[in-house]
């Protein structure tokens, strides 16, 4: 309770910039949490090319767990299949997965970049207050001055507190997304070569 109250006082002392900063922080961390949960779920996917070929031959859509199975399910869900067009359909199905992989990562990084700017905004307004107090009361009234300085320092601190872990999380998520994408691409390439060989076989027959 005491910790909550002191946190509340901390926020109040930061001035009006604290509210957008808090909203931004909530948004950022909600996205980070969502993305991490998604990644944890997706990483359980163990769809190897061999298994995928089996599914393809049986025309049985796999259980959708991650990008690979999603691509495969989408591919198998297409109404018309012909060996000649399959390669392209597969390409389209793989391409579909890209946005979902990268979803939110850019937003997280952008928010992490904006947070220190908001902190800076708070600092500037705090300094404006401080100088306005000096302009009115001279340098004698240290207590009134301290309010502005406090606001200035607290917002910068909060901006950095939000931004540094946010940036860190953003980069981790980006690396994970890239790893997933690479996995997806190599999986797609394996399926692709199989489809192509089938297409060639179909053409030659």
């Amino acid at each position: 309770m005491d910790a909550l109250r002191s946190a509340w006082e901390f926020i109040l002392a930061g001035g009006p910039v604290m509210w957008p900063l808090m909203a931004l922080s909530l948004w950022l961390w909600a996205l980070v949490l969502y993305k991490f949960l998604w990644l944890a779920r997706v990483r359980r996917e163990r769809l190897e090319p061999g298994q995928a070929l089996e599914d393809l031959l049986r025309r049985r859509p796999p259980e959708v767990l991650g990008p690979r199975s999603a691509a495969l399910a989408h591919f198998l869900g297409e109404p018309y299949h012909a060996p000649k067009a399959d390669v392209r359909l597969w390409e389209a199905a793989v391409r579909r997965q890209g946005p979902r992989l990268w979803r939110h990562v850019d937003t997280i990084l952008m928010l992490a970049a904006v947070a220190p700017l908001l902190g800076l905004l708070g600092t500037v307004s705090g300094m404006i207050d401080t100088f306005a107090v000096i302009g009115e009361y001279g340098t004698g009234n240290a207590q009134a001055m301290a309010g502005g300085i406090r606001e200035a320092l607290i917002t910068t601190e909060t901006g950095l507190l939000v931004a540094i872990p946010g940036l860190f999380a953003g980069y981790v998520l980006r690396r994970q997304a890239r790893k997933l994408q690479q996995g997806l691409l190599s999986f797609a390439a394996a399926v692709h070569s199989w489809l192509r060989s089938r297409q060639e076989a179909a053409c030659s027959s």
Binding site: E78, P79, Y80, H81, A82, K84, A85, D86, R88, L89, E91, A92, R95, R96, G98, P99, D106, T107, M110, L111, A113, V114, L117, L118, L120, L121, V124, S125, M127, I128, D129, T130, F131, A132, V133, I134, G135, E136, Y137, G138, T139, N141, A144
Partner: protein
């Protein structure tokens, strides 16, 4: 004395004349002897007189000398007395100086105490209940008036009164000068020596004391958000928590001096306008983009499924109609371009599709670069405004020196406003441009995906 000289002169004259009168010598001799004895007798008488006179004179001299000696003695005595008296006088005047110094010090203390209490009373809301005490206190400051014991007692009582009142919460009806400068009767609650809360016709606020008049003045300016509710609740005795101005009026003064946001922004100088223009331009661009993305948003998956179905059946006209339903949207445009080339070889179709996509891309990404530029320019303009403001401030310093920090600080405070405004404008633009950019990317990706799907469907249909 004069008589004797005459006698002598007469004798000599007779002697000289004697030879000439030899004839009558005997007689003359007789006469002479007679004269002589007469003269001798006169002489002895004169001598006797002289001796008598001398004795008298000497006696007088002696008396005078005696008197002189007496007088001298008296003088010496008097001198001694004078010295003693003046010593005593010096002693007494020293004592007087000492005593009156103490007295002056006492009066000084009393005046200083009265001045202190006056300074306190001029700010204390307690004075409003007893406006006469300001006059009473000012009377103490009159230098020619000497504070007596009763005055001192009165001052002490005033002090104790202030102390007692400082611990009280006093509710009463009283006069108040409201924000329009009119005298009104108000419900007043004085909270110790800090603040007075008032309520007139449902309007609540904090009141300060007019230092000269000793009357309550409603504090100017708008109350901070939520404060009037608190005051109302306290006046209705619903809560024990009341807002206080513990700074003794300084906070209320600042409240009345608070500028509106717009005034504050305008005080930033001429560079406020370009920043606002940048903000406005960015706002228009963002609205245009939002409107555009809203317009082109459509369920392309469903459309693509239908189109692929129709293409698979060989119903190209139906597929074109289906794609035309979303006319104007980028994916639909690409599909239409692809379907128009359905009889061409697959390479031509691919090229046609990518060409159509290239045609669509600028439409999707329009203004996004401009938004990024605006987001970058706004803080720079703010910085420029700050530097300009600082230059003005330093010019003030070259004229007036750094003696008064107020002159300088006010300028710096105003100079920083443009930086604040620049940042405040840039941050939303930054966020919006990033979000819009991602939406454009998603649309472009969707377009590409559908193009590939269409080319696959066309290849299939040619089977």
């Amino acid at each position: 004395m004069g008589g004797r000289a005459w006698v002598l002169a007469a004798v000599l004259a007779l002697g000289l004349c004697a030879p000439a009168q030899a004839a009558d010598f005997n007689q003359a001799a007789k006469q002479t002897a007679q004269d002589r004895s007469q003269a001798q007798a006169e002489m002895s008488r004169a001598k006797q007189d002289i001796a008598q006179e001398r004795a008298a004179m000497q006696a007088k001299l002696k008396a005078l000398q005696e008197s002189l000696a007496r007088e001298k003695k008296a003088l010496a005595q008097a001198r001694e007395d004078l010295a003693a008296v003046s010593r005593r006088r010096a002693e007494l005047s020293r004592q007087l100086a000492e005593t009156s110094g103490d007295l002056k010090e006492l009066a000084g203390h009393v005046r200083a105490a009265a001045r202190e209490l006056l300074a306190m009373a001029e700010r204390s809301p307690v004075t409003a209940e007893d406006p006469g005490r300001l006059e009473a206190l000012r009377a103490y400051l009159n230098k020619s008036r000497f504070p007596g014991l009763t005055d001192i007692e009165k001052l002490v009582n005033l002090y104790f009164g202030e102390i007692t009142a400082g611990g009280q919460i006093a509710r009463r009806q009283g006069a108040l000068v409201n924000q329009e400068g009119q005298d009104v009767q108000a419900d007043l609650v004085r909270l110790g020596g800090f603040t007075t809360l008032y309520r007139v016709n449902g309007q609540v606020g904090l009141a300060t004391l007019g230092p000269a008049s000793g009357r309550l003045l409603a504090a100017g300016g708008e109350l901070p958000w939520g404060l009037s509710g608190d005051i109302n609740a306290y006046l209705d005795r619903q809560t024990d928590a009341a807002p206080l101005d513990i700074s003794g009026g300084a906070a209320l003064k600042q409240l009345s001096r608070r500028e509106t946001l717009w005034e504050q922004i305008l005080s930033g100088g001429p560079l406020v306008w370009p920043i606002l223009a940048v903000g406005l331009a960015a706002l228009l661009l963002i609205l245009e983009r939002l409107w555009f993305f809203r317009r082109v948003r459509a369920n392309t998956d469903e459309m693509m499924t239908h189109v692929a179905e129709l293409v698979g059946k060989g119903d190209f006209a139906g597929a074109l109609d289906e794609a035309d339903k979303q006319k104007g949207r980028p994916t639909s445009n690409v599909l239409t371009a692809g379907l128009a080339l359905r009889d061409q070889p697959s390479e031509v179709i691919d090229n046609g599709l990518s060409e159509a996509m290239l045609r669509e891309l600028p439409r999707l990404e329009r203004f996004l670069t401009a938004l990024k530029v605006l987001a970058a320019v706004a803080p720079l303009l703010g910085l420029l405004g700050t530097v300009t403001g600082m230059i003005n401030t330093f010019q003030v310093i070259t004229v007036f020196g750094t003696g008064d920090p107020r002159l300088m600080a006010g300028g710096i405070s105003e100079a920083l406003i443009t930086t604040q405004l620049g940042l405040a404008v840039a941050i939303p633009i930054l966020v919006a441009s990033a979000l819009l950019g991602r939406r454009a990317q998603r649309l472009a990706g969707d377009m590409e995906e559908k193009a590939v799907a269409l080319s696959a469907a066309l290849i299939q249909a040619r089977r």
